[in-house]
Amino acid sequence: MAGQRVIDGRDLLPPEPLELTLAALDTLESGEELLLLLHCEPHPLYAILKNNGYRYTSEQREDGTNAIRISKA
């Protein structure tokens, strides 16, 4: 794996986390992973990822944080 970038959106006001994520997707390289941390499930982002050739997994941690791992499909 080329590496991992992390966006911690838990203390950011919407749509800041989505803005940062979209900006990061523009420069995401093959094999690189983007880890997004949020308190909610970002359904609009999921739709964007599905429609644009990215794969993702979402896992809810014990503290309620959703950890979304994104990479190029």
């Binding site: 203390d11 006001l13 919407p14 749509p15 979209l22 997707l25 523009d26 308190h39 909610c40 499930e41 359904h43 609009p44 999921y46 739709a47 964007i48 429609n51 644009n52 309620g64």
Partner: protein, 449 residues
Amino acid sequence: MHPNLSFEQAPPISVPYRFFLTAPWFGVTAGLLLAWLGPDALESRWSPGALALSHLLTVGFMLQVMCGALLQFIPVATGGNVWRPRWVASLVHPIVAIAALCLAFGFALSQPLLIQIAVPLFAAGLGGFIAVVSFSLLRTPAHGMTIHVLRLALFGLAVTLILGIALASALGWQADGQASWSLVLISNVHAAWGLGAWALMLVIGVSYLVVPMFQLTPSYPAWLTRTVPFGILVAIGLWSLQLGVDGELVQSWLSVVALGGMLLAGLYAGTTLWLQALRRRRLTDITFVFWRGAMLALLGFVASWIALEVFPVLGEHPRAAIWLGMLALPGVFVSVISGMLYKIVPFLNWLHLQRLGGLKVLPPNIKQMLAEKPMRRQMRLHFASLVLLLGAVLWPPLTSLAGLSFAVSFLWLEWNLVGAVRRYIDFRSRALSDQVIDQTHADASSRVS
């Protein structure tokens, strides 16, 4: 920008905006009607003016925004797909708006014909809306308490609609007062389902998501997210049994059941205020203050209801119900809805401008979609109007001033929302014309080469 990204999940922006931009006009109408009718309108909840005003706010302002918001909220927040949202909106929006006007002016002018027109319009428009939205909520792959509570709210809306149709049919076709049921009893149950099981339930379900997200608070405690909505629904369900069961035994536990429901609503309001106090960033934006005002009004409603039960001399006063109505409608629901509109509209502008893709110029920042100062001034006028409306219940000479203030507050809300939509349209036009110019230059270059 993100030229290759598709944003297909969100419905067209015209779907929610047609509801949002229509809604404040019902509030303007309500305020002007109150100013015109004066103190007589607030003499009792059964006065033609009071019935017209309450329905202009509930099936006018509130229902318009709630329908538009649900069509937007379900796909964006729950991942559910609403069947043909543009088509649904283009039918439901005018039908429900016309039905609301007919019902309100049927009450205000004591015209049964207008009420007769409203009945089939509500049955078709709102019934169709409930069917489409319920279907998408049942099929959504998402899970969590927000989804469950939204389903409960839709059930509450369906029961409210059925009871409302029964009431309006009785009033529209049996205007001589020979109705076979107790209209007062059905009206009470209709109001409980409409305000408690539909409107408050929707606010509760949406708040589980938007309060932590937009106000950066901790999440609602898991036990509370289950107990409050289901408890309120059970309380309203048991309280509604008075429609079918008669006798002193029923009367004796009605107050206990109602008290249980009220305390749950108070617990929800208190918890929301407590979570707001624990927010992780000391942001005090407009939406935050509107929510805080709404929750204080909800606590005021619960405290007033208990006081009116404890002191029957006060509770039996014809204006007691008007006092509760002022706290519930302008106090809780208009406040929370105004706060959410100021959050949703800039966000939708931003989201839909992102969809354009390939822009040379960045869309305005979300904070530039709607300036803070006019929103804050409108919010102050709204809360001042609320104080005047409550004052008018106690001191009737204030009524016309309160009505005018309320009308101007809604007019200002409309003005602010239109300003945000104009900013969206201006930027979209500029961005699209830039794209056309770029495309024309590219085509010309390729022809030359």
